[in-house]
Amino acid sequence: MALLRLRAALRGPGGLRGPGIPWSVLRSYSSASAKEVSTNGTCERTELLKVLKARAKQLQGSNIPEVTVNKVEAAPLENDKSQDPLQKALAPHPMEEQPVPRAVGGSPARPSSWARKLQKETYIQQLKLERKLSMAASQLDLGDQAKAEAKPKTKAESKPKAKAEAKPKTKAEAKPKAKAEAKPKAKAEAKPKAKAEAKPKAKAEAKPKAKAEAKPKTQAKATAKPKAKPMKSPKTPKASKAKAATAWSQSCASPHSVYTHSKPTVELGEEGVKLKRPHGRLKDKDSSQHKVLQETIHSSLECFLFLQQPEQAERFLLLCHSDPRKRKLLDVSAYNIVMRSWARKGCLQHIDRLFSMLESAGFRPTLDSYTAALECMGRDQSSPEAIWRYLQRLTSDGFHVDELFQKCLFEEDEKEKVLSAIKTVLPNYLPPPPPKPQTCKSSLLQDFYSKEKVVSYPKLDFTVEELKERFQQQLEMELNNTITIESVEAAKPLTPQAVKARELLTMLRSQWHNNILQALQKSKHSMAVAKARARTLSSYNILYPYLCLLPDEEYVGIMLQVLNTLSPQGESLAVLARELSSRVYTRYITQRKLQSQQLEKVQAVYENYIHLLAKDSQPDQYLPREYWEKLVEEAGFGSSLNLKDCSWPFVILMRLGMHMLELLVKATKLPKNLLNPRLESKHIPVLYHIYSFQHTWQVGLIKPHPIFSQILTDAAETTLTFSSSAMPMLCPPVPWTSPHFGAFIMNDTKLMRFLDGAVQHQQLLEQCPPVNLHPVLDALTLLGNCAWKINQPVLDIIISIFNDKGNEELDIPPPLSEAPRPPTAPGHPSTWSKSLRREVLLCKKKAAEMHSLRMDALYKLSIANYVRDKVFWFPHNMDFRGRTYPCPPYFNHLGNDVTRAILLFAEGRPLGPRGLDWLKIHLINLTGLKKSSSLQERLDYANEIMEEILDSADHPLTGRKWWMNTDEPWQALACCMEIVKASRSPDPAAYISHFPVHQDGSCNGLQHYAALGRDLIGAISVNLVPCSVPQDVYSAVAQQVEEFRKKDAERGVKIAQVLQGFISRKVVKQTVMTVVYGVTRYGGRLQIEKRLKEIDDFPEDYLWEASQYLVKQVFNSIKEMFSATRDIQNWLTESAKLISQSGRTVEWVTPLGLPIVQPYYRSRSTVLNCGMQHLSVRTSDSSQKPDTVKQKNAFPPNFIHSLDSTHMMLTALHCLRQGLTFVSVHDCYWTHALTVDTMNRICRQQFVALHSEKILQDLSEFMLEKYCSSSSPNTVTIATWQKKLMEQLSNVPRTGEFNLNQVMDSTYFFS
């Protein structure tokens, strides 16, 4: 997966340059070519693989794209000319499902009688009922939506039909339906308080039904209410408790999360069992459509709020409110947004009116509503009577004034205004004090957080003033959103041709700029006119506000940027659209942060915060996060540092992007005779919309005209424009203090990487008590606080080769001029022979590959060159399993050999007594030689070849070039230089080294498995047991496979005989390595096939059979050697399968307290009708059923990754306490040469500590409680699946007799 996406992203500069969108948008049309990369021997090159691997590692986090735009088709939807964008988002056939709810609505008398019957059942079937509630509710909702879609004619027709259908049905059939229908209603009325959150929704759903019965709504309500009442009474004590939680969740949760996930939050106050329930999964298609529509309304209202156009916001709200079908899309927060925009203007009578609208819609105001009202009154200095009125209402709604300050987020001066309003009537009122900071209680981190042993946080080599200055630089960069830097190619001399082409480009661009601007303004104008005339929501143009957020010039700028970076091969429409709109979005977020005055607050806190890090200030015994929280509290910013959620739904993103793309395609023209004056002068489009065909799919592409690509090539422009979030930070990152605050100053960064629309991670993090996240937040902050600098001599050498002809052996991609020339042939291409065509194609493919590799290297080197004299930081975040990644995508320490070689710690430390030895051992490790030798032997070897090392360092390009023939040549070269410098210094022990020394886990996944299963043989082969020389698991497996092969060969198995002499460590290595991460036989076979292909004299005819045979033997060998590992893997897989089959996603909590959920759901495609073509967008979100195959296959590797990330974080935190510099590339830990020994000790200690926890036992208990705890007392009727699941989950695999403490003495555990 990651490979494919990488390939997609590498295809061209267009894909590479965006602020990270390419990863989220998978173009399946590129997958075919990606496959060829891996299968086609002629084009396969090792460096591509290396880049891919490094990338893949980095990207593993973002495994499953949430909005996977993978199929773009021109679905010829007939007569769908309707202009309602909301409607267009719906799937084309909602009508089919109509009869069901219709039939339900048949009898008006039934609901109440069923409600009565329900009372009895409720006590015993609490849980079941609630699930049904959400199902039935969405079913009703579905019916109504379907109705909304149906043409009036069909509506009239279907009604009698459906009724007629309902009647002849047998009673048995009709009953459950009526039941399902009655439940939501009874529920909604029965627990109005406890379910304050769920109520509006349930009510909204129940209402359409009431309408379907053609009875006054109020009447229906009245009948249900008294009957349901008795049920309410036993609930009241809990209800009052739940109230607080409800209100809280409402005020802080994002608009869309309010909808789906209200329940888990509510249940905090209710029985403990329910807390463990999964999120209420609404019924598939319709609920997610409902969600999309709701999100669209919210984000549009937010736009009006941002634009300070309360009139427009209110008008939009009224359009929805007045339409009975659309009204149910509204929820309280939609009204709240409008209230907030009026509050900002201080118009109380509008807010009064909105309050009454809320009431008429059947909603109860929330804390946010009152905040808006009070803010407004604080602004316009209202009379105390009015303020009293609202305060009384607030209390009568069951809120407390203090809650306003505890649970609401504030922007700008909102907080002050609210306070001043309250003080008008309660002069002595003081906002409640902030909650006391809590400390993490995890047993693994007791030492770490205990205040007794605290050492001060390591200081940076900067003064406060210097750090402030750097902060300003960083801020300036982020405020600009993009940064344009000189590429490393700028050093090349300029040709006259380039000068001419550049002039031409400048001229064309200014023309295009004007044309696009005109087109944009024209389209905005026509939208505005249409909007002003709109009487209904359906004729309302939803895009208009999104085109007003930024100055027109900025939209034009964004479009022109995309034009510049479009690859000559073209780019899929969907990708371009996403890119355009997400650029608009990031700018909008920046503007919002400015408008809400968040920046000033962050700046104020940051300037105090750097005292913790600067060398010239008092040592403080705080962690960065603690210190930041303390400062925020002191400044009284409490809840005003976080922005209210304002994400845009994918439908809006796609539509906005498509609209901009259409403008761009239509507005840009160039004269046809630009390069060939013989032709007549005619303006032709620069961009073309064509289709590419993939089997039966067709993918829309935007292709630049070859003339334009030619000019771009000729101009050879040497500036590169990056998003500011693609650059390393110039000041220490803001510490992570919550799931949505940290890292960059302005750029939106999420603690957990996920893709658009995947809300479940964020929700899980938000529900999690903040104190549980502290270890993870601290670890990420710590990793981000490591300062870096550039290894300039190495960078210079690399750039010189890069600007010359590149070097494929050394991983420096050559320029396109070095690409193989396609054979020239006379005549029209259509008359060429097949082989000629094939050759031309291969050349083109090779060139495209070279181009993307070259661009990738160009970006990395250019960024490195840009920061060559600076100290910089890589802010970190993590994927959903807790694996950490640096945020800047191109240049970071996770990169390939080249990028790693040019990075140095900014902080220097003396080598100390063992430092030089470690440098030498590190060098030998980098060469890949002496893998099975002891450390002493490696050191001896290094001393032996000192001559070569000296030569490499002194004459890297002219000498004997020993360094070039190593596994990681560039890092080896850098290391040679460091060793030489150190050994030439008068006292090597005192030599200040900035060089990072790495320690790798040997097959880290298997190490964790072996430790989990206490698997003795496995533990030995992955170095958990002390040995004099390192054990090599790959050789061991190869040996085992060879043994199997011999036996088979003796028995006369043909393929076993063919394979004689071909089984080596290299052949099996990749498969063994990935087996722990869930590689399948299929994937394993491909890996082995690739290795066999590399062996020259292996008979090609047997490739398939041999690889098939070998992968089987490798799996068998692993089974034999790691018996416990296989058991554990099977147990995990089987458990995940059963959980997923029961309709829930697999969740667990790492030993550090990080909650994890696997985000794999079945996907669904929605067809968006955009002007240029229909886009089919695949989405998978939490409202759909889990994807069992993915849930099951991914669980073992994800679980192991969550363990290795825990181990890394534990090591990181404890290293901090010992004053070490520490960074990691997953299972490769870096520190100074001086501190390698200490780091190794901590690493081992933490591994032992981690596995001393009962990890599998805890997992089993957690899951049993989560998935199997039945709240109903009648346990007799436990479903069989539940029994099976329970059995499976309790049956934890047995462990072997390996003594974990042996790890403490194992030298080669990490080496």
Binding site: Y691, S692, T696, S830, T831
Partner: protein, 391 residues
């Protein structure tokens, strides 16, 4: 096109089966039992019902359909022989015959048959039949849909190479304009049906694979929805597609017979019918369609060498059926599109879906003559497109 609706034929017996006896007998059909004793098929008859149609043990195997009812077999045999002139008949290649009931019927009618079977389990039965005859039947192990696979490397049976196949059959290549050198009959598996049709059309236009040997006549049962697409009329939504244009220009399409899905036996473990769903077009039958390549296909500007460009052009045009032809042409940055359309007497505002297949052919011929066409970037894309489709 002689798209006549054929009489229901054996549908009656099939339906009967589907409703009542299928679960009991699994292939031992009532009408079969009543039929006259036939030579050669004793083995099949004596075998337990399960052996007649091999039920696949593994799930996930592609669904195969068989003619298991002699009445249907007779109908098919009559259809195949309909319209045959006097004189010697070409050999008939039957692919995936399975239990061989149709094979038997064809042999009885005096045809020379080559059976190409990919499932080893059916081979012994067919081979014993072959041995009992005097060269009237030839049985070959191979899969018609893995004919000339595009992957490199050695061919592993049941993949076959058309050269070998034709050599074994003893069929020699004839010029394009000559008579049909070979007739083929089979049931198209519904998985990847559309891709298989595309593949066939590509080989037809490029004179590859089986079409290297001349205008091979194909008689296949395809699903009704694909039949409707093949024979779609201009302007019809859903049915008029790129495939339609190419099929109608490439060959004569003749509907020989329509038969409900239920008349066919499947290899499903459950004995289910596995009828593919169709959203927009009716799909209640399998249609026996005769596809005879047009004799005059390569007479005017179209040649096997430039056919790929033609195919690509048609696909590009019909990718968005409601767009105007003018816009499509403009997007290939051609000069004077309007003049070209005028010459071809195509209305300026013509929508691509409304053009007749012949119009596309004329358009292509005109473009081949236009000097600017070769200069567009269009041709480069043809290469890529061909690669992706042909794989």
């Amino acid at each position: 096109m002689l798209a006549k609706r054929a009489p229901p034929g054996a549908a009656g017996c099939g339906r009967l089966l589907a409703e009542a006896l299928r679960p009991l007998l699994r292939g031992l059909w009532p009408c079969w039992a009543a039929g006259p004793q036939r030579r050669g098929l004793r083995a099949a008859e004596e075998a337990p019902a399960e052996r007649l149609v091999q039920r696949e043990k593994r799930s996930g195997v592609a669904v195969r359909r068989f003619i298991a009812c002699p009445r249907l077999a007779r109908t098919v045999q009559q259809c195949l022989q309909r319209g045959a002139g006097p004189g010697p008949q070409p050999v008939l290649l039957e692919f995936s015959p399975g239990p061989g009931i149709l094979t038997q019927t064809l042999l009885d009618a005096g045809l020379r048959v080559v059976a190409l079977e990919s499932n080893l389990a059916y081979l012994p039965n067919l081979q014993s039949l072959e041995n009992s005859l005097d060269g009237q039947l030839k049985v070959i192990y191979g899969d018609f849909f893995r004919l000339d696979p595009l992957v490199s490397g050695t061919l592993k049976p049941p993949a076959v190479c058309s050269d070998k196949l034709f050599e074994t059959m003893g069929v020699a290549a004839v010029p394009w304009r000559a008579d049909v050198p070979l007739r083929i009959f089979g049931i198209m598996p519904h998985t990847l049906e559309r891709n298989r049709l595309w593949r066939l059309l590509f080989s037809l236009y490029e004179c590859n694979s089986i079409y290297k040997y001349g205008r091979v006549e194909l008689n296949v049962f395809i699903s009704e929805r694909e039949y409707l697409v093949l024979t779609g009329k201009p302007g019809r939504a859903w049915a008029y597609q790129a495939l339609t244009v190419l099929a109608q220009i490439g060959c004569e399409i003749e509907l020989l017979h329509m038969e409900p899905w239920s008349s066919f036996a499947t290899n499903m473990k459950s004995g289910g019918l596995a009828i593919p769903k169709s959203k927009r077009l009716p799909n209640d039958h399998l249609c026996l369609v005769r596809l005879t390549p047009q004799q005059n296909l390569f007479t005017r500007g179209l040649k096997p060498t430039n056919a790929a460009t033609f195919i690509f052009m048609v696909k590009q045009c019909l990718a968005k059926p409601k767009s105007r032809l003018r816009d499509r042409l403009n997007s290939w940055s051609l000069d004077n599109t309007s003049k070209l359309l005028k010459e071809l007497e195509i209305p300026k505002n013509a929508v691509v879906r409304d053009l007749y297949p012949e119009d596309y052919r004329r358009l292509f011929e005109a473009l081949q003559n236009s000097s600017t066409f070769a200069e567009t970037w269009f041709c480069e894309d043809v290469l890529e497109s061909v690669r992706t489709i042909n794989l």
